[in-house]
């Protein structure tokens, strides 16, 4: 073999990863070529010297620290909301709010209860200037005929939260009749 060694052959030769036939051919060339031999010796020397650069060892607490960090990792078997309860609460609240807004925007105007302000503009049957705590408004005959839901509209606190309460009725367990009466 008269050709000089190619760049990619030097390192492979030094790593002894050549096939026997190729190695024998390179050996023949090296025996006759001082330039390639000198280059090869230089590379062998520098690869040997590089071995003098030592690295640090991992500290004794490496595994313990890694275990602690892994313990904080979410497990693939758990859904994300199981790991972050706050996310689940926030999601539930967002759903309730979205339902409420959708109900308000989609429902026909007459389905939305009359505003409380309008009710308050009606003159009271008897003036009560000394009243401190709100007293339940007596149920009107119409409301009584239409059941508890309309009766609840006469309660100012319930009326204010009517939309939300209605959505809760849809989303959660229906309120027992005895409990409804107490409202």
């Amino acid at each position: 073999m008269s050709e000089h060694l190619k760049e990619e052959q030097f390192v492979v030769y030094l790593d002894a990863r050549l096939e026997a036939g190729e190695r024998a051919a390179l050996d023949r060339h090296l025996a006759a070529c001082p330039d390639c031999r000198a280059r090869l010796d230089g590379l062998r020397a520098v690869m040997g010297v590089l071995g003098e650069w030592n690295a640090v060892e991992p500290s004794a607490g490496f595994d313990a620290r890694l275990r602690a960090r892994l313990a904080e990792e979410p497990s693939a078997a758990q859904p994300w909301y199981a790991l972050r309860p706050a996310y689940a609460v926030a999601l539930a609240a967002a759903i309730v709010l979205a339902f409420g807004l959708a109900f308000r925007s989609l429902a026909p105007p007459d389905a939305i209860p009359a505003p409380r302000v309008a009710r308050q503009t009606q003159p009271p049957a008897t003036p009560a200037p000394q009243q401190v705590a709100p007293t339940p408004t007596p149920t009107s005959p119409t409301a009584a005929q239409n059941g508890d839901e309309l009766a609840a509209l006469d309660n100012p606190v319930l009326l204010e939260n009517y939309d939300l309460l209605k959505d809760f009725d849809v989303l959660f367990e229906p309120i027992a009749p005895e409990e409804k009466k107490s409202l």
Partner: protein
């Protein structure tokens, strides 16, 4: 041996927590030191190298489902380690750690090259200083190589990965890698001539 790594990874991918932890623990135990060594030679900071090694194993754990057994585990592992090291070097984490590591490094590490080492059971203090100085010269010479050459040398000389693995990590052909290694070692031969002495 590498087939064994793939089997461990398969177990680490399993949904059974105990098997997963056992398999992952085996892989950490086997590759903890090579990964720390590689990262130390990349960033030269013991505390940062260890922090980055933790990050590498966390990434391996998080991405375990995406591992395909067709690829060698070490190729995958050192590709992650390479990315983590390069990111750290580029975002300047090395400088920040250097500024704080004197106070923050609480790891109980046997430091073979630590500047505070006093006991010298293997040789004289003078010999130790010479070795340390030679190590520092080598570090500077390797560090001055272009990034790809530096990575190729670290993965070839110190991690002893095969050509196909290094080529996959560096995203080049095997032939290009061999030329890259040749040029890197040639550059090092010139820069480290004073250390080669009678070897050349």
């Amino acid at each position: 041996m590498d087939r064994s790594d793939q089997e461990w990874m398969r177990r680490a991918q399993a949904g059974v927590p105990k098997a997963r932890e056992e398999a992952f623990g085996f892989l950490v135990g086997k590759y903890r030191t090579p990964v720390v060594h590689f990262l130390y030679r990349m960033v030269h900071e013991p505390a940062l190298a260890e922090e980055l090694a933790q990050e590498v194993f966390l990434r391996v754990y998080r991405a375990r489902k995406s591992y395909r057994p067709q690829a060698k585990f070490t190729t995958w592992l050192f590709r992650i380690a390479t990315n983590v090291a390069l990111n750290a070097l580029r975002d300047g984490r090395m400088r920040r750690t250097r500024e704080t590591s004197l106070d923050a490094d609480t790891g109980q590490r046997p430091a073979p090259q630590g500047p505070l080492e006093v006991a010298d059971p293997t040789g004289t203090v003078e010999q130790k200083m010479i070795e340390r100085e030679r190590g520092e010269q080598i570090r500077r010479a390797v560090d001055a190589l272009p990034e790809k050459q530096r990575l190729a040398v670290l993965l070839h000389k110190y991690q002893e990965l095969d050509y196909a693995e290094i080529a996959a990590i560096l995203d080049c052909s095997e032939s290009a890698l061999k030329s890259l290694l040749f040029r890197a070692y040639e550059t090092l031969r010139v820069r480290l001539k004073p250390l080669l002495g009678a070897r050349v």
